[in-house]
Structures are given as C-alpha cells and as structure tokens.
Symmetry: C2
Subunit: 75 residues, 2 copies
C-alpha cells in the first residue's frame, strides 16, 4: 500500500524557501504571485496492513518537526 | 486563487533523501517500509484569473528541473 505525507510549515512560521521562490517568479516576470509556501511530500511504499496510526507515528517521530510543521496523511 | 504544485524525482532517478528517510524509519523500528520517495510541494497564492497554462510555465521555467523531475498541478 501507498501513503503520502505532506509536511508544511505552520501558518505564521517564516518560510524563506517559499519567499525565495516568490521573489524568483517575480524576477522572471510572473506577476500576481501573492504568496508561496514550500513544503515536502513523502511517498511511502508500505507493507499491506500498515495502519494510518502507524504512519502518524512515523510523522510524529521522524517526518515532521511538529513544533513548526504540520502534516497531512493521504492513503 | 490557489494552486498546488507537486514536484517528484522521475522514476529511475536516485533519491538519496528518500533513501535516508527509509533507512531512518527502519532504524526507529518501523518495519515494512518498502520504499520512500521525497519530493516538494509548492503552494501558490495567485491573482484571480491566473491560468493553469501560466502555472505550467512557472514549473517549466523555475519550479521543476524537468530533466530529472516531474510535476503535477492541482488547483
């Protein structure tokens, strides 16, 4: 089975990577880019029967820094 | 309007970041993790009326390295 975890910086946490992308898009002439947030996506190929609870545990322990990041799991 | 771009390394391109995560999950005792691919997700806050074609152009010119990465746009 597959699971996809998306990890984003929480609202209010400064995102310099996103800011750099926003700035670069402007410099390339793309107008109207009002905000950019960059995060990561982790695609997991898991043994059958792995529960979402188990994936949540992976997020809490390794994949996300829950002090500054939020995560979302899709199966 | 919002658009979300997901950028992943193409199949067959070595993903050392994903491998590192897979290894770390194993070391933490998470069994059954058969594969991990890590990519990035870019959330764009765009002026109303920005076309998907325009977002595609942003991907081609900046957000993805299309030699080794594939991208997907969701609005």
């Amino acid at each position: 089975m597959k699971a996809r975890v998306t990890v984003m910086l929480k609202e209010g946490v400064l995102d310099p990577q996103g800011e750099a992308v926003r700035h670069a898009l402007g410099a390339l002439g793309f107008d109207g880019v009002e905000g950019v947030r960059q995060g990561k996506v982790i695609e997991l190929d898991l043994a059958e029967g792995t529960t979402e609870e188990r994936v949540r545990e992976m997020c809490e322990r390794l994949l996300a820094n829950t002090v500054i990041e939020s995560y979302r799991i899709e199966s």
